[in-house]
């Protein structure tokens, strides 16, 4: 077994345990309901946004929004890791 295999074994073990714990759906708000909601919002939004795209740069807006969402996600991931590391080394949360 290579070093990479050993590391991946640890990651796989973690994911397997997490997969067993995590549910597929939130109670009272199933994934299918969520998808249906997003689809309806998407259809509605597309119509509206198409009509205002004559004078408003929608593509630019979404590009910037994506950058913002990914940035926050990266920041959140970093903070989560820092939180876990702090817990592991006994420094408290």
């Amino acid at each position: 077994m290579s070093l990479g295999d050993a590391i991946l074994n640890g990651i796989i073990f973690f994911i397997q345990k997490l997969t067993g714990l995590l549910p597929k759906n939130i109670p009272f708000f199933s994934f299918e309901t969520f998808q249906a909601l997003l689809n309806s919002v998407e259809n509605f939004s597309t119509t509206i946004l198409n009509s205002i795209s004559w004078f408003f740069p929608i593509a630019l807006l979404f590009t910037l929004l994506k950058v913002m969402v990914y940035s926050y996600l990266a920041l959140f991931s970093f903070k989560t890791m820092r939180f876990l590391v702090n817990l592991l080394r006994g420094a408290g949360a």
């Binding site: 295999d5 991946l8 597929k24 939130i26 198409n50 913002m68």
Partner: protein, 499 residues
């Protein structure tokens, strides 16, 4: 204005009333036990034999008297039976009167069984009256034993009601006299053949007994039937099936622990309680995913309808889920059923395993990971070998990478990953669904005689024309600048959050 407390009281009152009504209907109306038939003998011809009247069969011994009761003439030896509708669970009451107990054995008794066209299947249980310690006793014998169980004293020359109740589900019966306490639940005889009761046979060896009114009675509560005792196999999932057509069954199956494996088939069986044979009645293929992959602990619902020719019996649904796990050199075939409580066990068959890559198309061939060092000169060969050694020691193997991908695929269907990925798709879909109309911003440069257009998306530069700003381009450019300005402002704040 009513206070919220008053409103709440009204609400609680409504549901409380409904609850009480429910309780009333649940307990005030007892469960009616079923009987194969009822008979009060009142319409029968007096001083004629019971045999031949009202579908009673047997010998010309028992007779009807003027009061509509059945008696045995002097010197008679009665044995008559009648069959009705098969009842798997029910009770029967018979009113009896005796004038004495000359014999130690039960000279007067009623047997219960199934009968078809007058043939008797044998007693599944009975009650009888005989002598014990110079007194009359009601007795029975529990199935599988030869010991007489004495139940209650019977006073001669008084009418008594004797109730008997049975249950196919538990294979038990019990008896009581004059609505006193029931006996214990006792086992029926020949339980492997017991399908319920549809007939009664009443016998007396001497002219000291008469009977009347064969009827069913209400039994309070849920009927008091005992719980089903586990038989074969040892579980409690038996269901009574009385119909012979269109048996519908459904349920859920939990996929067992799989290690990089697949389930490819599911067989549904109906098992007979007594024969203990698993006769395949129907096969249902679970609609697996396209790649025939199911996840560990995934719930597979099934539902089907079949028609089978069976006598009423206790049946259960079982299943075998065929799965296989990849091992290093061989493909192991597993089967799994509900009695195995999620454990899987190997069959005796071990098939040679095809290469793993046949099943995982994304898996690269091993030679792509190792350089071919053949034909290289000394230093190049050494460098190539070192590189391969590094790859072998440090880098993960393709199989392990694939395992990781599999696990990531699994977790991608779990909360919150699935909700988040759907949200990102939502944003992408919206942005791709927008078709912006490009503004006609044309800048003409008058200082050159050449004409060529350069498309900068928002700005079109026509080097040979004249400057032409439209209203659309002005507004859109204004908003673009505004958005970029707001974004820079946000970015500065975000960077401040980080540092």
């Amino acid at each position: 204005m009513k206070s919220p407390l008053v409103k709440k009281s009204w609400f609680i009152g409504l549901f409380g009333t409904l609850f009480l009504v429910f309780l009333f209907f649940s307990y005030a109306f007892p469960v009616l036990a079923q009987s194969p038939f009822e008979d009060d003998f009142n319409d029968y011809t007096a001083e004629h034999y019971l045999n031949g009247q009202g579908n009673w069969t047997g010998y010309n011994t028992w007779k009807i008297n003027d009061l509509g009761r059945v008696y045995l003439p002097v010197g008679g030896n009665g044995d008559n039976l009648k069959a009705g509708e098969l009842k798997t669970e029910g009770n029967w009451r018979l009113s009896v009167n005796i004038t004495g107990c000359p014999y130690a054995y039960s000279y007067f008794n009623a047997s219960f069984s199934t009968s078809s066209s007058g043939s008797w299947s044998g007693d599944y249980f009975y009650w009888g009256i005989g002598k014990k310690d110079d007194e009359c006793w009601l007795s029975t014998i529990e199935g599988g034993t030869s010991t007489t169980t004495y139940l209650s004293k019977i006073s001669p020359n008084e009418w008594h009601t004797i109730d008997i109740q049975w249950s196919l589900n538990s294979l038990k019966f019990r008896v009581r006299v004059d609505e006193e306490d029931w006996s214990e639940w006792l086992s029926v005889s020949s339980p492997e053949y017991f399908k319920g009761i549809n007939a009664i046979r009443i016998k007396s060896r001497i002219d000291l007994a008469e009977f009347d009114d064969l009827e069913h009675i209400p039994i309070s509560g849920t009927g008091g039937y005992p719980d089903v005792e586990p038989t074969y196999p040892e579980d409690e999932k038996w269901n009574y099936i009385s119909t012979t057509t269109d048996i519908s069954f459904s349920g859920e199956i939990v996929v067992p622990e799989l290690y990089n494996g697949y389930c490819f088939n599911l067989w549904i069986f109906l098992n007979d309680r007594w024969s203990a044979t698993t006769t395949q009645k129907t096969q249902l293929i679970i609609p697996f995913d396209e790649d025939f992959r199911v996840e560990t602990n995934e719930i597979l619902p099934y539902s089907t309808t079949t028609n089978i020719e069976i006598v009423p019996n206790l049946m259960k649904v079982s299943y075998i889920l065929h799965c296989f796990n990849f091992d290093k050199n061989e493909l192991e075939l597993f089967e799994h059923d509900e009695n195995a409580t999620l454990s899987i066990y190997p069959l005796a068959i071990n098939l040679p395993s095809p290469p793993l890559s046949e099943y995982i198309t994304e898996l690269p061939e091993p030679e792509e990971y190792f350089e071919n060092c053949e034909g290289l000169t000394t230093f190049d060969w050494l460098f190539c070998k070192l590189k391969n050694l590094f790859v072998e020691i440090i880098l993960p193997t393709p199989v392990k990478k694939q395992e990781l991908e599999n696990e990531i695929t699994k977790i991608s269907t779990k909360f919150p990953v699935n909700y988040l990925s759907e949200s990102f798709l939502f944003i992408s879909d919206i942005s791709s669904g927008i078709t912006e109309t490009e503004p006609d911003l044309v800048i003409t440069a008058p200082f050159t005689n050449t004409t060529s257009s350069i498309d900068f998306s928002l700005v079109k530069l026509n080097l040979g024309g004249t400057l032409n700003l439209t209203l659309q381009s002005i507004i859109k450019t204004f908003f673009s600048v505004l958005l970029i300005f707001l974004f820079i402002k946000w970015l500065l704040g975000f960077l401040g959050d980080i540092f």
